[in-house]
Symmetry: C2
Subunit: 229 residues, 2 copies
């Protein structure tokens, strides 16, 4: 594919751990759901799976526990996780700089969208915290066949914006975001705010890594995003 | 310092995140304590400080929040964290393989000790879960002037065992363990079970990195620890 002269990039944001400080609530909701079904998995192993598709999470779980799951168990686990997470939403806060970053991009005429492996149900509270403007493309797991690390969520978000994926940066906190970005043909920007280390995000393909949305906001120049274009 | 022929190494273990799955409970107890005092810090920033001295944790907090703390606030925060952690002890489990690793070392006549930045109060529940044999050296923050990343805890543990620090491996899950190991003159072994990434632990000086105590147990050969010596 031939590249044309650079056009103004769009930004495709992950939600949990990237714009809202919700990763640890997801971890605890999964842990509680698993313990209710009699499965004991170390907390760090759950943490490392947050952001990937729930179905793949359960497949990884089967491998790590050496158990198999019935379809009914898998469904009960996903339902219990969603309920446990919604119950913890009152502890979830926007990450520092998240609202300012989004409103600055809008003011700069930089297009952006949100693409999350979460469902409409688990994403609703976080989206409300961010005061997302009407008309913003929000792609959830309910709208695509496969969630991350498949590229579908980011491809759908780019299509909604009318941008080629190569003209988009994906911003995410987990290796699943960065792997999905590579499959989509977008460059990935890593944030440490989901709890992964810098080196881990770089090894998964991050083009740059920042602490949180506040730090990304003050480094937009490093992505070649200029005011007044 | 001239090295003599290799003697049988001793192992100095960190506690939280290394032998018991308690890091996330510490994180949440700190978060709750901080919010009660009106401080809002992203959860990942708290996570990255677990395992270091509580006093240094609060100094880092001052830097990250740009606030200063009164002595009374610092004392209230430390007390609230300890109480919040003890309340969550019922959710804490031994990490996979922790008890088997310790009993195997004992059966192999390999000396070991525990050295934790935690206090006697916060460590008690975790030590009970592990069924530590009587007479095991347990060094807590209450017994030394400075906790990790200062080397004092590991130096005291090595002295209790009558081993030179250079003849000890330090086993820990956080960069603070590995930095303290380097200052003590011991080699550090990293475990992923506290939530740090492999690369992060290697960059902090880990000689080897394993997933959890169960994986370390099946790789004792890589540390040059042989049965029947």
């Amino acid at each position: 594919m031939q590249r044309s002269a650079s056009s103004r990039p769009a930004l495709l944001f992950d939600l949990d751990g990237t714009l809202v400080d919700s990763v640890y609530q997801h971890v605890l909701a999964w842990r509680e759901a698993l313990e209710t079904e009699g499965f004991h998995l170390s907390v760090w192993r759950i943490h490392r799976r947050i952001g990937m598709s729930g179905g793949l999470f359960l497949k990884a779980l089967v491998r790590e526990l050496g158990h198999s799951l019935t379809d009914e168990q898998a469904e009960r686990l996903q339902k219990a996780h969603a309920e446990g997470f919604v119950q913890r939403m009152d502890q979830v806060r926007p990450l520092p700089g998240a609202r300012e970053l989004l409103s600055t991009l809008t003011a700069m005429n930089v297009r952006w969208a949100i693409a999350t492996s979460g469902s409409d149900k688990t994403a609703a509270g976080a989206l409300a915290l961010l005061a997302i403007p009407k008309g913003t493309p929000i792609i959830t797991r309910d709208q695509v066949a496969y969630a991350k690390p498949n590229p579908d969520l980011f491809l759908a978000a780019a299509a909604h914006l009318g941008h080629a994926p190569a003209d988009c940066f994906v911003v995410g906190d987990s290796v699943w975001d960065l792997l999905a970005a590579r499959r989509a043909g977008s460059l990935g920007i890593g944030l440490l705010s989901g709890g992964y280390g810098k080196e881990e995000l770089e090894m998964a393909g991050a083009y740059r890594v920042y602490g949180d949305p506040a730090e990304l906001l003050t480094h937009l120049d490093e992505l070649g995003i200029r005011a007044g274009e």
